[in-house]
């Protein structure tokens, strides 16, 4: 099929100078699919097929060494009842702990990033000497690999020699050093701090881009009328940039829900901070429980897919409401 398509393409090209209309568009459609084909094949190989296999593994007893001899066991990896006890991911307290950690992490870090990103963006949107330099400085955390930023912070958060404890004690805020990454009530906050540091710049840039597209006449009118800047911000700026904010927040939420590297480096496999991705990878790779881990991965995928669909649906509804 693809050879006949290339033949058509070859013969169609010279004829294109005076073509019958229908034929030209038909060859163009064929050319379009030909141009898309390599990308589609690669996406199928790296995304479509592996996803289907993962879902299939989640219904089997596959382990890392016996991927090919996996047997179908139905829903046992998800939930099963045996001898008066519930088994499976959905009955696993550690999985629900991971779900709770992931949701807490997503909610707290994305909200903090939104607020801080807004402040950064408003500052960067103002005219002041050295603005270009400040903008360059803001890009630095974004450019640093997550793994490196996690390492940098785990050194800064070190319980005995960390600079953060040193600083807080010398300022009189703390009496004794805190074990940021080892204390079970603090470690998730440590993860949040690192993530907020790393991704606030991204949020700030997206908000800044939206701010710079705002029409200036609203602001001139507001200034002439002598309206307080805070009021202008809530009545004019915020409503106008809301669509851009929603996109930025969606991107960050989807990213935060699959968080892996910060947690893996900062607190390794501690149950206090384990996210859904960390849980799934631990089952898959460290415990070699491919079936069980795949069930967890599938649940995470379903969760994110449903959220995306809901968001698209609501977005479309909102758009139609505007019209």
């Amino acid at each position: 099929m693809s050879t006949s398509a290339t033949d058509k393409l070859r013969t169609a090209a010279p004829a294109a100078s005076a073509p019958p209309k229908g034929r030209l568009s038909r060859t163009r459609v064929r050319a379009a699919w030909l141009f898309l084909l390599p990308m589609l094949v690669v996406l199928l190989l790296v995304a479509g097929w592996p996803l289907l296999r993962t879902i299939w593994f989640s219904f089997t007893d596959a382990s890392f060494s016996t991927l090919h001899e996996a047997h179908f066991i139905g829903l046992e990896n998800y939930l099963s009842y045996d001898d008066g006890e519930w088994y499976g991911v959905l009955a696993d307290p550690q999985w629900w702990g991971a779900v709770r950690n992931t949701l807490f992490f997503t909610l707290v870090s994305v909200s903090l990033e939104l607020v801080l990103g807004m402040v950064f963006a408003l500052v960067l949107n103002a005219q002041f000497p050295g603005r270009a330099l400040v903008r360059a400085a803001v890009l630095i955390p974004w450019a640093i690999p997550t793994i490196v930023s996690a390492k940098m912070w785990s050194w800064m958060l070190h319980d005995q020699f960390g600079i953060l404890n040193h600083l807080l004690i010398s300022l009189g805020i703390l009496d004794a050093p805190l074990a940021w990454t080892a204390n079970s009530s603090l470690s998730l906050w440590a993860v949040v701090i690192v993530d907020v540091w790393k991704t606030t710049p991204f949020m700030a840039l997206l908000i800044l881009a939206a701010l710079q597209m705002l029409p200036s006449d609203c602001y001139e009118a507001a200034r002439v009328d002598g309206i307080h800047p805070v009021r202008v911000f809530f009545r004019v700026t915020l409503p106008l940039i809301t669509p851009a904010l929603l996109v930025a927040v969606t991107f960050r939420v989807l990213d935060a829900l699959r968080v892996f590297d910060v947690i893996y480096v900062l607190t390794s496999n501690s149950a206090d901070t384990m996210s859904m991705s960390v849980f799934a990878r631990q089952q898959l790779v460290e415990f070699q429980e491919v079936g069980y881990g795949s069930a967890a991965s599938t649940l995470l995928f379903l969760f994110i897919a449903l959220l995306t669909l809901a968001w698209l649906y609501l977005g479309r509804k909102r758009l139609q409401g505007d019209l």
Binding site: R28, L36, P145, W155, S277
Partner: protein
């Protein structure tokens, strides 16, 4: 000239303090990493904010390790190849999606966007099987292959956005002259798309350079690893004494090229990020 007033002055000072706080917040952790990397192991455990005397022994140690140099080489190789593959496939796909009208165009775009939302761990076991099937396990080429999962959708999306902004007349003129679609793409459109390609290429490079989960899972031996994994796995004599000076030196070595890239191409990166996110 405006009259001097206390509230205005206080406002000015407050704003300057805010700017200073933002800069400190963003830059200090990296500054502290550089500072730590220049300390000897004895000085390490005394907190200080300035460097008293330079000590480059941590850099000598880390750059003297063949396995670290090898992982640097692997990272450069993998990231460069990922950029090349993503740009080639992304450009042809973006041409079809941006300049052609056909049934199914919307579905393909939705599919591409959908793939970019994938949690990486959801394809881990399936992708592991594919990579082993292709004989690419514990091979940097396997990483090139798997990284297209997140670089390709992004590249396609941004290039399609830019492709749609090009004037229609150019392409029509090429068709009237009898140029095939391939010639139109490579000779007419590509020269105009260089800025967009540099931007997306760089973002893909950064994403590939920073990737951790696949690199950790699909490689096994020191010589096949990329730098993020190499850094994550640096260990000391025991679990409780990590060689922080060496880890920070390695971190700085890995980060400096990225910071230079970002500072040089600052404006491009901002426009690329917003094209990929806001318009998407």
């Amino acid at each position: 000239m405006r009259a001097f007033s206390w509230p205005r002055l206080l406002g000015r000072i407050g704003f300057a303090m805010l700017v200073l706080c933002i800069v400190l917040f963003c830059v200090f952790p990296f500054y502290y990493a550089v500072l730590t990397s220049l300390k000897s192991s004895g000085e390490l455990f005394q907190v200080s904010y300035w460097i008293d005397h330079l000590n480059v022994s941590n850099y000598q140690t880390i750059l003297g390790r063949p396995s670290f140099l090898r992982s640097l080489f692997n990272s450069v190789l993998v990231s460069t190849l990922v950029v090349a593959v993503s740009l080639l496939l992304g450009l042809t796909a973006a041409y079809a999606l941006g300049r052609f009208d056909f049934k199914g165009r919307g579905s393909v775009l939705t599919l591409v966007l959908g793939v970019s939302m994938f949690p990486q761990v959801a394809v881990l076991s399936g992708l592991f099987e594919v990579i082993r099937g292709l004989g690419l396990y514990n091979n940097p080429l396997g990483l090139v292959f798997s990284y297209t999962l997140f670089t390709l959708p992004f590249t396609v999306w941004v290039l399609t956005t830019f492709m749609r902004q090009l004037p229609k007349e150019l392409e029509e003129a090429a068709i009237v002259d009898g140029a095939s679609p391939w010639l139109t793409l490579t000779r007419v459109l590509m020269p105009l798309l260089w800025p967009a390609m540099v931007t997306t290429g760089m973002l893909a490079f950064i994403a590939a350079w920073n990737e951790f989960l696949f690199a950790l899972t699909f490689t096994l031996t020191d010589s096949q690893r990329t730098v993020p994994v190499a850094i994550a796995l640096i260990s000391g004599g025991s679990q409780y004494e990590l060689p922080w000076g060496i880890i920070m030196a390695a971190s700085v070595v890995v980060t400096i090229p990225l910071i230079l890239l970002v500072l040089v191409f600052q404006r491009r990166i901002v426009s690329g990020l917003t094209a990929g996110a806001v318009k998407g």
